[in-house]
């Protein structure tokens, strides 16, 4: 990152993190062990796609303080990039997916001038920017199929006997990719660069006067966030097998991750993942059964209640509860 900055081992709480990861993996394995049906696995796959984008969004929001309303751009670029690389150039899907992440990073570079902005100005700039790619995907119909959509996207392959295109295979793949992204996020957050980035969010001048190149660090976070989002866009494209601009660049990919990350606790590593799974399952299973049309209104109520009762999200609430118990025991 910067040769000026020495690598520093940070004080850590690895044992509690390992317990957390262990619990998360056991929870992730439960649906397979319980023999969940394709419908439920399909819901979990969509929830994990959302979890990946939420994690990427929270990374940018927590480390650097950049509130993005434009992650749909990285998601859409990743979707189309991987679909085109594999379908038109014949690249193996498992190669086109990370390459799609790299192409999403390329797209994010166009946003670097906006890093000088902060708060609502940055949010508006990235919102406007995300629309450019939706228009491009529609207009470049010779490449993308335009508004008619792009079909015949290659499916995920079979690896070590596991058919990744099957529901259970896709589910396992997504659990692994989400876990890897969470690990990367946790490592960055614990690093010295991550420590400086946490400070940049609310006190940028205070960090710059002690030698922190805030623009560079924020640019790295934007690139990492775009990469992760692009990868999940790519995986989603190969799972659903069809793309059209209004779907791939839909505002849903910008808004839902924000709701999920805030609901779960965007300042934590696992909050956005837990938030995404709960929000998505609540919306699809509970809210839809109560209000078939316009069920998203219940999501709004749920988020409003969470912000009012626990502004630090679900994980913040859990930490407060555990701390209260520890204090009571002491």
């Amino acid at each position: 990152m910067s040769s000026h900055v020495p690598s520093v081992s940070r004080p850590s709480s690895w044992p509690s993190s390992i317990v957390f990861v262990g619990i998360a993996l056991v929870l992730a394995a439960l649906p397979l062990a319980a023999g969940a049906g394709n419908y439920f696995l399909g819901l979990l796959i969509s929830a994990l796609i959302l979890a990946g984008i939420s994690l990427a969004w929270a990374l940018l929001g927590n480390l650097g303080g950049m509130v993005s309303f434009g992650h749909a751009a990285f998601f859409g670029v990743g979707s189309y990039a991987s679909a085109l690389l594999s379908a038109k150039l014949g690249l193996p899907v498992l190669l086109s997916v990370p390459l799609a992440g790299v192409i999403a990073v390329g797209a994010s570079l166009l946003m670097i001038p906006a890093l000088r902005l902060s708060g609502p100005y940055f949010a508006l700039a990235i919102l406007a920017y995300s629309q450019i790619f939706r228009i491009l995907a529609t207009e470049l119909s010779w490449l993308t199929g335009g508004a008619a959509g792009f079909q015949a996207i290659p499916q995920l392959p079979t690896v070590l006997g596991l058919d990744l295109a099957s529901r259970s295979g896709s589910y396992v793949l997504l659990v692994v990719v989400v876990a890897l992204c969470a690990l990367v996020y946790a490592l960055v957050r614990r690093s010295l660069v991550g420590t400086a980035l946490r400070a940049i969010a609310d006190s940028e001048d205070a960090t710059r006067v002690v030698g922190v190149n805030s623009m560079l660090l924020k640019a790295w976070m934007l690139a990492l966030s775009a990469f992760i989002t692009g990868v999940f866009g790519a995986l989603n494209a190969h799972i659903i097998g069809f793309l059209e601009p209004d779907y791939a660049f839909s505002g849903v990919w910008s808004v839902l991750p924000i709701i999920a990350a805030i609901f779960g606790g965007y300042r934590t590593t696992f909050g956005p993942i837990g938030g995404a799974v709960i929000i998505y399952l609540f919306d699809q299973v509970v809210a839809k059964s109560i209000i078939a049309v316009g069920h998203q209104i219940l999501l709004g109520f749920l988020l409003a209640a969470m912000i009012l009762l626990a502004p630090n999200g679900l994980l913040g609430l859990a930490e407060r509860f555990l701390k209260g118990r520890r204090d009571a025991e002491a």
Binding site: P6, L192, A196, A199, T207, V209, V210, V212
Partner: protein, 236 residues
């Protein structure tokens, strides 16, 4: 150590600093004084890199005026803010670790402990810097952060403001100790004439963005132009 040549800052139609020039030798403690709105903090902002002025700012003979803020810190210019600006979401120790790593380019926990102890912040080291410190502790943290970058030049912006007289006297002694212990060159913005007389080897006076006096504190505070700038009337 520091030389300013024709430093001018304009904000639209307002000239905040007009052709300010002076120099500062290594090891000096310079008092920067003047009425409210004279341009003292603006001058600090230009030296530390928050504002890029016209003119030249030479640090040990090297023009640093085109260097961005973070590179000024790495060049050895440390500063505090009038209203303390701790790094949010971090502990006191993490504030210093970040400052040392990015500003001085190294990781030396022993040095961090030394600074914490010197600035009497060792007991508060694991507290949240933004939410769990009193004003006096925040002011000490401001200086501690600046020390962590291992500066050659330290800019102190009204670090004594808001302290009651006993605390002010103790803090002044701490600043003298800091000057000798770390071998620093210091510029301090201060309103209190007694403090300047006790602490500084030299004083520079600004009024309406212009330098109106430069000399020993005794000379400066006898200068009719300085007295007029403070009282608004010519000295009888």
């Amino acid at each position: 150590m520091l030389k300013l040549e024709g430093v001018t800052v304009r904000f639209g139609g307002l000239t905040a600093l007009r052709d300010v020039s002076f120099s500062l030798a290594e090891g000096e403690i310079l008092g920067l004084v003047g009425p409210n709105g004279a341009g003292k903090t603006t001058l600090f902002n230009t030296i530390s890199g928050l504002i890029q002025p016209q003119g030249r700012i030479l640090l040990k003979g090297v023009d640093v005026n085109r260097l961005p803020l973070h590179k000024r810190a790495r060049a050895g210019i440390g500063r505090t803010f009038q209203i303390p600006q701790p790094m949010h979401h971090l502990t006191v120790r993490e504030n210093l670790v970040v400052a040392q790593a990015f500003g001085a380019g190294r990781h030396d926990p022993g040095r961090i402990d030394e600074i914490l102890s010197f600035m009497e912040l060792a007991r508060q080291a694991e507290r949240n810097a933004a939410t769990e410190l009193a004003l006096q502790e925040l002011k000490r943290l401001e200086i501690a952060k600046a020390l962590a970058i291992e500066p050659k030049l330290l800019l102190l912006d009204e670090v004594l403001a808001g302290l009651e007289s006993q605390a002010k006297r103790q803090f002044m002694l701490k600043l003298k100790e800091l000057h000798s212990h770390f071998g620093l060159t210091i510029v301090i913005v201060e309103h209190d004439i007694e403090t300047i007389m006790n602490l500084c080897t030299r004083a520079v006076v600004l009024n309406f963005g212009q330098l109106i006096a430069n000399g020993t504190p005794e000379e400066v505070f006898r200068d009719p132009a300085v007295i007029e700038s403070y009282t608004g009337a010519a000295h009888a």
